[in-house]
């Protein structure tokens, strides 16, 4: 009898608890990779994303009084595992999915567009998905890879005395030989044609991320005036070390924002000094919001972050990713008047997202990043980034904010979006209305 009562009690408790959990939280899954060859890049980002959302739960009781249900799914940066995670999480009604991999994003774009789940690929993924008209469910602020590449070319041109001086120069492009590294190539080829420079491409296959000496001998022979890097995971520190090994001038080697963590430059020791990379968030822990993360999450033992890693570049990148999610949720709550927003509400929240410098300040992150402005038609914003330089121990900002070459990027984006839609017929036509505030 007692056993029967106990079983009944447990069953009832389960029935009552399940809807309570479902009704009183907003489900935010995080696709992360804390294991495998890309974990050096994946871990700090996963920590930053988790810790900021966890801090909101602890400090503010969630967003608008509703707690965030955070769940990580380990992808190992593998496309098939990412899709598996997405399918498993879909039934739990996520309000947004962060793939944290261009390959996974490319695989999820067609699915999410049918399932009506927003995908946030913050400054990665398919550049063309910035077109809100064709990709109403995909968001990639604050800048696309093509924006990033055009900013790098502008920076190089500035150092060379103007875009006209690029004529006749050779620029090397070393990249991860996958969806991520291949993404900016169409624009690079176009810019080479427009400005008369030659591009030498050096693809790094995933299996040879830590075995690049042959490729860098090619660099030594070709002597490119500048090297641009689109690396990730273990590829980055290896490339920086190999560049130092062939005495390549490090202040002429510039990585995209995903090739600029402390752990990318540090292993090269003194040889890595001078290495450059783009960035769109600040480095350091001296922000009230990050102090709150320390106080409410890390000090309480609710984080996997080592204390000395708080404020590292990729940790802050993860924080910024979660700020964008949180602000979109807040926005959606204001738009709809609902506290427990769903995926459709969040899509509207993203399409009206505006993080002004004043708002960054209110968030306790004054000067942490540039303004973010997403609209119904522009899901990216094409915002500026700056160049940072490794001084041997830390990153130092060495340029002003550089805006992308919109005149070059936009026509290509439009054409690429059109091309994508044509090749993926029947592509769902946008039926979602734009909000007035967008």
């Amino acid at each position: 009898m007692r056993m029967k009562q106990l079983a009944l009690g447990v069953a009832l408790a389960g029935i009552m608890a399940a809807p309570a959990l479902a009704q009183n939280s907003i489900f935010v899954p995080l696709l992360t990779y804390r294991t495998g060859p890309f974990s050096n890049s994946g871990i700090p980002i996963a920590n930053g994303m988790h810790d900021y959302l966890a801090m909101l739960n602890e400090r503010d009781g969630g967003i608008g009084g509703v707690k965030l249900a955070i769940e990580e799914c380990e992808t190992g940066y593998k496309n098939e595992k990412g899709v598996e995670c997405y399918e498993a999480l879909k039934s739990k009604k996520p309000v947004v999915v962060n793939p944290y991999s261009t390959g996974i994003t490319l695989a999820l774009i067609p699915k999410a567009s049918v399932d009506h789940i927003p995908i946030l690929s913050m400054a990665y993924g398919l550049s063309a998905s910035a077109q809100g008209q064709d990709f109403p469910w995909i968001f990639n602020p604050p800048a696309t890879y093509w924006d990033g590449l055009s900013m790098i070319i502008k920076y190089i041109a500035d150092k060379e005395g103007g875009l006209a001086n690029l004529k006749g120069k050779t620029i090397g492009y070393i990249y991860f030989d996958g969806g991520y590294g291949l993404e900016p190539i169409p624009l690079l080829d176009q810019l080479a044609k427009d400005y008369g420079f030659t591009v030498k491409k050096y693809p790094v296959p995933p299996a040879d991320m830590q075995n690049q000496s042959g490729l860098w001998l090619n660099v030594r022979r070709d002597r490119p005036a500048w090297m641009i890097m689109w690396g990730w995971g273990a590829m980055n520190p290896t490339a920086v070390q190999e560049a130092a090994k062939i005495n390549y001038p490090m202040d002429h080697m510039i990585g995209v924002w995903w090739s600029g963590s402390e752990d990318d430059a540090r292993p090269a020791g003194a040889g890595g000094k001078g290495y450059l990379s783009l960035n769109f968030n600040s480095v350091g822990a001296n922000y009230p919001a990050i102090q709150d993360i320390q106080k409410y999450v890390i000090d309480k033992g609710n984080s996997q972050t080592a204390k000395d890693k708080v404020g590292d570049n990729f940790y802050n990148r993860g924080v910024m990713n979660s700020v964008i999610i949180a602000e979109a949720i807040r926005n959606a709550q204001q738009l709809t008047g609902k506290k427990e927003v769903n995926a459709e509400d969040l899509r509207r929240g993203f399409e009206t997202l505006k993080i002004t410098p004043e708002r960054w300040k209110e968030l306790g992150l004054e000067g942490f990043a540039g303004p973010v402005n997403v609209t119904c038609t522009d899901h990216n914003g094409h915002h500026a980034a700056y160049v940072q330089q490794w001084d041997g121990t830390k990153w130092v900002k060495v340029s002003d904010w550089i805006t992308p070459m919109k005149d070059k990027v936009q026509p290509l984006l439009d054409a690429a979006a059109q091309d994508y839609v044509t090749k993926n017929q029947p592509w769902p036509k946008r039926t979602e209305a734009c909000d007035k505030s967008s």
């Binding site: 974990s39 296959p205 075995n211 490729l215 005495n247």
Partner: protein, 318 residues
């Protein structure tokens, strides 16, 4: 015509006009080759003694390197950490023999092979739980491994020899020579060879299979540690090192699974071949060809010697 020129003439013209780059390429190939040989040696040792293709050899490289750096980060002095890592690899060998090999005696080879898959995942999980997935910087300075480069002016240019690469080549060569001596000249080496030839015959003359298995897995563990230190110093210590270990596969195809000289010669042929191929012919094919070129080189050799360079020719009566 232009393509034929680029394939058959231009590379050799380049070799002649920039001989310093040829020497540099050969040197890079030699260093990579020696390291490939070292990884391949780990596979060969275990295969010879137990007939098992040890899929876990790659993760053993990561596990050994992580243990070394992890212990150092916990405050253990570098050389003590090195000694303790050797003890850990011995412990691993004992556990593998007790928990994996002994219960699977007399099972088909494929069962043992699959068991090494399981071991791979156990070591990945264990490594991540104990040391985390963060990359670590190899304690090269603390182990007095040299840093920096020696630039030699020669042949109208310069050849840059990284001191760590020189050290890697010397240490790997010494290890290979040491293992060869152990195999040829010592009692345990003779026992190993006897086991490699025939388990049953070895047992009949009183050789303990269990002991031999522990010895070879331990030797493979030491080889993994040396590889992890050298490769970790060239990049960093992370789980990506496991992928580098797969480079041993074309070496094994080429050198044969049972031959120590095969692993050495095969490693050097693959290392030098892929660097020459990448440097002189890579740009024709869009560069980044090393990952598959190694297999092409191995397959070309196999056309002429199906058993590998030094592998045993298996003749079976039907």
């Amino acid at each position: 015509m232009d393509l034929l020129y680029q394939i058959f003439v231009d590379p050799f013209v380049q070799m002649g006009t920039a001989p310093d780059l040829l020497v540099q390429t050969l040197w890079e190939g030699l260093v990579s080759g020696v390291l490939y040989a070292l990884i391949a040696l780990g596979f060969v040792l275990i295969f010879k003694a137990s007939g098992v293709f040890n899929f876990a050899q790659g993760i053993m490289v990561v596990f050994a390197a992580l243990t070394l750096v992890g212990l150092y980060e916990k405050g253990v002095p570098a050389f003590l950490a090195l000694a303790l890592t050797i003890v850990v690899m011995l412990g691993l060998a004992v556990l593998v023999e007790r928990l994996m090999l002994r219960p699977l005696v007399n099972q088909p080879d494929i069962v043992l092979f699959m068991a090494t898959f399981g071991l791979t995942y156990v070591l990945i999980g264990l490594g991540e739980i104990i040391f985390g997935g963060d990359p670590k910087v190899m304690i090269a300075d603390q182990l007095y491994l040299p840093r920096g480069a020696i630039d030699v002016n020669m042949l109208g240019g310069f050849v840059s020899l990284q001191k760590i690469d020189i050290a890697a080549a010397i240490i790997a060569s010494l290890m290979v020579a040491g293992l060869a001596v152990v195999f040829q000249k010592t009692r345990i080496g003779r026992a190993l060879r006897a086991v490699a030839d025939s388990h049953k015959a070895a047992l009949s003359v009183g050789i303990s299979l269990e002991q031999i298995w522990v010895v070879v897995w331990f030797a493979a563990g030491i080889v993994a540690l040396a590889t992890g230190i050298m490769w970790g110093a060239r990049s960093n210590v992370s789980f990506a090192l496991e992928i580098v270990s797969l480079k041993a596969l074309p070496v094994l195809i080429l050198g044969g699974l049972t031959s120590i000289p095969g692993a050495i010669v095969g490693g050097i042929i693959i290392g030098v071949g892929e660097k020459l191929g990448e440097f002189y012919w890579g740009p024709l094919l869009g560069s980044g060809i090393e990952s598959w070129l190694a297999y092409v080189i191995a397959l070309i050799f196999l056309l002429f010697r199906p058993q590998g360079l030094f592998g045993e020719r298996i003749i079976e009566r039907i």
